[in-house]
């Protein structure tokens, strides 16, 4: 075995994350259930990300429309802007951009929080206080990210489309109902549902990787920073990998 170090590290981490995820599934359906903590995490992870997601989504929708417009006008298909933006936003840009922002905000905060809990022995303290820290800290957070990201994406997608609506109205006058019907007519369930479904996986990846990084923070406070940083990097990469898998699977199932 002469794996060079980066590869060995990469595989080691992959195995670690896989085992961590297995542990999550082994524990998630077994009592005791940390319902109150789950709700608290959902609030912290979902609600408190909304302003950031909302702002970036709005700008994204607006900019996308303004950037697309010149070429669409040149091809004489200006009226197709809502349809095109809707497909781009719902199928790809919404899920991926929002998941990346989510990874930046939530992945790092989970990594840093659990990391500092780890190095200051708070996780041990929990364990001796009759609490399974994996259940209390990891299961709740991973469930919260998995459940909240789709909600954020639904809201973010809508805000992006609203931003695009504003973008269209900068140049021409299009009523809101017309815009919505133009945008939505181009979409089908086969495009909408897989796009929403994949965000569950994105959310899961952000949660599980953030928790893994936090839980495996090496001793010392600078380890906390590293945990937060690599939680974001690794989960962002995984979002893209999962996105690639998602498009291939939907393609395979003939939903493309």
């Amino acid at each position: 075995m002469t794996l060079n170090k980066p590869w060995a590290d990469f595989l080691d981490e992959l195995g670690g994350i896989a085992r961590f995820a297995t542990r999550f599934f082994a524990q998630v359906f077994r009592p005791r259930y940390e319902g109150a903590e789950l709700l608290r995490q959902c609030f912290l992870i979902g609600n408190l990300s909304l302003p950031l997601v909302g702002l970036t989504s709005f700008i994204m929708g607006l900019v996308l429309t303004m950037q697309l417009r010149p070429s669409m006008v040149e091809y004489g298909v200006e009226s197709q802007i809502p349809a095109m933006v809707a497909i781009a936003v719902v199928r790809e840009i919404g899920p991926v951009i929002i998941a990346l922002i989510f990874a930046g905000k939530i992945g790092s905060s989970i990594g840093a929080e659990l990391g500092s809990m780890k190095v200051t022995e708070q996780i041990d303290a929990m364990e001796v206080s009759g609490t399974n820290p994996f259940k209390y800290l990891v299961v709740t957070r991973v469930l919260a990210t998995t459940l909240m990201l789709p909600v954020l994406v639904l809201i973010g997608d809508s805000i992006m489309l609203f931003g695009s609506f504003i973008g269209v109205n900068i140049y021409t006058v299009t009523s809101f109902p017309l815009y919505i019907s133009q945008a939505m007519d181009s979409l089908t369930f086969q495009e909408f549902l897989p796009a929403i479904l994949k965000t569950f996986f994105f959310g899961f990846a952000v949660g599980i990787i953030g928790c893994y990084k936090g839980f495996h923070t090496s001793r010392g406070t600078e380890g906390v920073g590293r945990a937060a940083n690599s939680a974001v990097v690794v989960s962002s990469v995984w979002i893209f990998i999962l996105d690639l898998l998602a498009v291939q699977i939907t393609d395979l199932l003939g939903y493309n």
Binding site: L39, R40, C42, F43, G46, N47, L50, Y75, G76, V77, V90, P150, V151, L152, L154, I155, D157, S158, I180, S181, M184, D185, L187, T188, F189, F192, I196
Partner: protein, 332 residues
């Protein structure tokens, strides 16, 4: 404690907003598939549905009123289409209304168009069979285009045959040599042959394009969704038709001439031997050949334009520029 309850309320609002948007999204996407409104069923029978599939839209005088629910064979020549139509339309659609299979835009999805019958028949009820009419302008145009292609193929085949005739006809060659027709005639013959080959290649190209267009796929299929393209397509079809006629007559004339010449020369009687000394006759052959020549050139040009028409809008501009250049060239 109070803060916590408040946070939970906010979380509830947040999740509810997401759920509502999900439902709204599903509704807006699904409203064309009639998942959420009340409907009734209407039927129509066709001999050819031209690729209509389940889920295609049903329009009444251009307004979305439902979708196709089922397409099935009743016999080998009869296909029944069952449509789900919004309940509101029960007070509008009549038994005599005419359903036809059409296309959304030039290259869009297939649709069922229902047009008012205007004979004052009673209102249609659940499961009623509507009158039908087959084919519409777009369909017809594409059919015409396909037909045009076939004709072109025939013409080019004929041209080829003629050229072969000319080539293999010893007598004619002898005639031409003996009578020392201008060298340009020989050239013309070579041109005809070249034009024929080219025409065949172009026809093959065109056929694949038309097939793609019919299936609505490929870049061409996409481009054709644009209305401007539709217009130029129609123009092109018209152009081909004209060309076709001209080439047709030429080919016939030519082959007639060749056969007569051949026959006369072989038998050694009739007007031909005499005519051979007639400079008028020579001139006639000459002019026919030159007409074939220019026509072949124009034919090529047209085919070229046709190709470019599908793929590049800028072709005509390019041609214009070249013409301008040529116009300027002599002045220098």
């Amino acid at each position: 404690m109070k803060q916590k309850a408040w946070n939970n309320i906010k979380l509830g609002v947040f999740v509810l907003a997401g759920l509502l948007l999900l439902i709204a999204g599903l509704y807006l996407i699904g409203k064309d598939t009639n998942l959420f409104s009340r409907n009734y069923i209407l039927r129509a029978q066709f001999s050819n549905v031209e690729g209509l599939v389940v889920g295609n839209n049903v329009r009444y005088s251009g307004i979305q009123v439902g979708t196709v629910k089922e397409v099935k064979f009743l016999s080998d020549t009869l296909i029944e289409v069952r449509m789900v139509v919004e309940e509101d339309m029960q007070s509008i659609i009549r038994k005599d209304d005419i359903a036809s299979v059409g296309t959304d835009g030039l290259m869009g999805n297939k649709i069922i168009n229902i047009a008012p019958g205007r004979t004052g028949a009673p209102l249609a009820v659940e499961n009623d069979l509507l009158r039908t009419e087959e084919g519409n302008s777009t369909e017809a145009m594409l059919a015409k285009l396909a037909l045009t292609n076939n004709n072109l193929l025939e013409i080019s085949n004929e041209l080829k045959k003629t050229v072969q005739n000319i080539n293999t006809s010893r007598n004619l060659w002898r005639l031409l040599n003996d009578e020392s027709l201008p060298a340009s005639v020989l050239e013309s013959l070579a041109n005809i042959r070249r034009a024929t080959e080219k025409a065949q290649a172009t026809v093959a190209d065109l056929q694949t394009i038309v097939a793609d267009v019919k299936a609505g796929k490929g870049t061409v299929g996409q481009l054709l969704r644009d209305t401007a393209m539709a217009v130029s397509l129609a123009d092109a079809v018209k152009g081909i038709r004209q060309l076709e006629n001209r080439a047709d007559t030429l080919a016939t004339q030519l082959s007639e001439l060749v056969t007569t010449l051949d026959n006369d020369l072989a038998t050694g009687k009739g007007p031909v031997p005499a005519a051979l000394h007639d400079s008028l006759m020579v001139q006639k052959v000459h002019s026919i050949l030159s007409r074939v020549d220019t026509s072949a050139a124009r034919f090529n040009e047209n085919m070229e334009a046709m190709k470019h028409n599908f793929l590049f809008r800028g072709y005509f501009k390019k041609q214009e520029k070249e013409k301008q250049k040529q116009a300027q060239a002599p002045q220098q």
